[in-house]
Amino acid sequence: MTNLAGLLESTGASIECEDDFDAVNELVRSRGWSDGLPVVPPTAGRVEHMLAFCDRPWDEPVAKIAPRYGEATPLRLAANAVMAGCRPEYFPLLVAAVEAMCEERFNLYGVQATTHLCAPLVIVNGPVAKELDINSGHNAFGPGWRANATLGRALRLALVNIGGAIPALGDMSTFGAPSKYSYLAAENEAASPWEPLHVERGLPREASAVTVIGAECPHNVNDHESITAEGILTTIAGTLIAVGANDVYYHAQPLIVMGPEHARTVADGGFSKADAKRFLHEHAHLPMRRFSKENIERRLRVTWKERLGAAGLDAPVPMVQRPEDLLIAVIGGAGKHSAVIHTFGATQAVTRALKTRDGSLARSVADFRRD
């Protein structure tokens, strides 16, 4: 159905409020429908405008968002996209990201409700990233770009308002993280010496795609001195080592965000992405004695019973179980930096191509235009 007036007649679909910015925001705040920041009032007119780039029925759920398992209909997603400040052209990516993070292997229930501080990170690949001006360069994870800021925020609002990720009710994170406001960037494909993330994960280069990762915030890797692939990768492997990371206890997929300058140095040393992953896997480990006695006995020897159950304290504990579990994306601007992004651990990254309703790959967001 694409008749907004009809849809708004159903119970709870709309709410009357004084036509005043402050009044709307007071209502939203009192109902707990926000991330704490003011929102753009989701009037019927604005919501309908947001749905200009939606080729599906507005009342047909695209997914159910845990932990409340609320139905994410285009209508509800559009209301959240309006509140977040999105442009209508962004809407197809919002739908794709919601679908991706609701795939079972992502474990959205865990990502949302855990005491860990993870948030779904979205990496955008393909021509749509450029079309929507999604930042992949300087400050890609930071403020300053409308698409990054508002698309990421729309996802968060959907996770809260549809999924019920309300602090201490459905979101039990001990601290939370600033990435829970917005966490979305594009890969800097033009500056990457390697195949883009979505191609590595099985999609054609001309596809546009989102990859969602249940991620921690980026941890910087500063290396201004190394001039070889081995040097850069040694520093990244050292930063990947973290005794307190969830990833130690799971078949996890930590993400290595390589700055373009680091990536170039590594590629110039003859390393493919797969070579870099092998190197990182081989070098990112610690002797078991570096863990606390309790963690050795209660977690490491139990979780990795076959390998560490009876092992000596010098046995290596890998930070990632297999080279191919590592994810690598090239993001950022100039500078001798990379970043390590650990994950929730009990989650698998999901990559999803941007497709129109008939299942064909979208060449542009214009493919979703309704009319």
């Binding site: 932990p67 409340r68 398992y69 409700a113 019920g164 201490a168 009710l169 459905g170 039990m172 309790e294």
Partner: protein, 72 residues
């Protein structure tokens, strides 16, 4: 657990206080709003063996009560 409860079995979730509201919400979401939530002291991590036994001590009487009520 909700599925077991729906099938008429004695089923419950053992839960610590900070997670009580989440547990209630989940039980409602899965269509079993009266799913018993057996409360034990927080935390569950970082406990000595004796403290783990203490938590079990809190849970066991509640489990027994649940089973008896179900049988009655």
């Amino acid at each position: 657990m909700c599925e077991l409860r729906k099938r008429g079995l004695a089923a419950a979730v053992i839960i610590s206080e900070p997670f009580l509201k989440l547990g209630r919400t989940q039980a409602r979401v899965f269509g079993v709003p009266d799913l018993p939530l057996l409360l034990i002291p927080h935390p569950l991590g970082g406990l000595s063996l004796g403290e783990v036994e203490g938590r079990a001590g809190h849970a066991i009487p509640q489990v027994l009560k649940l089973i008896k009520e179900r049988a009655a």
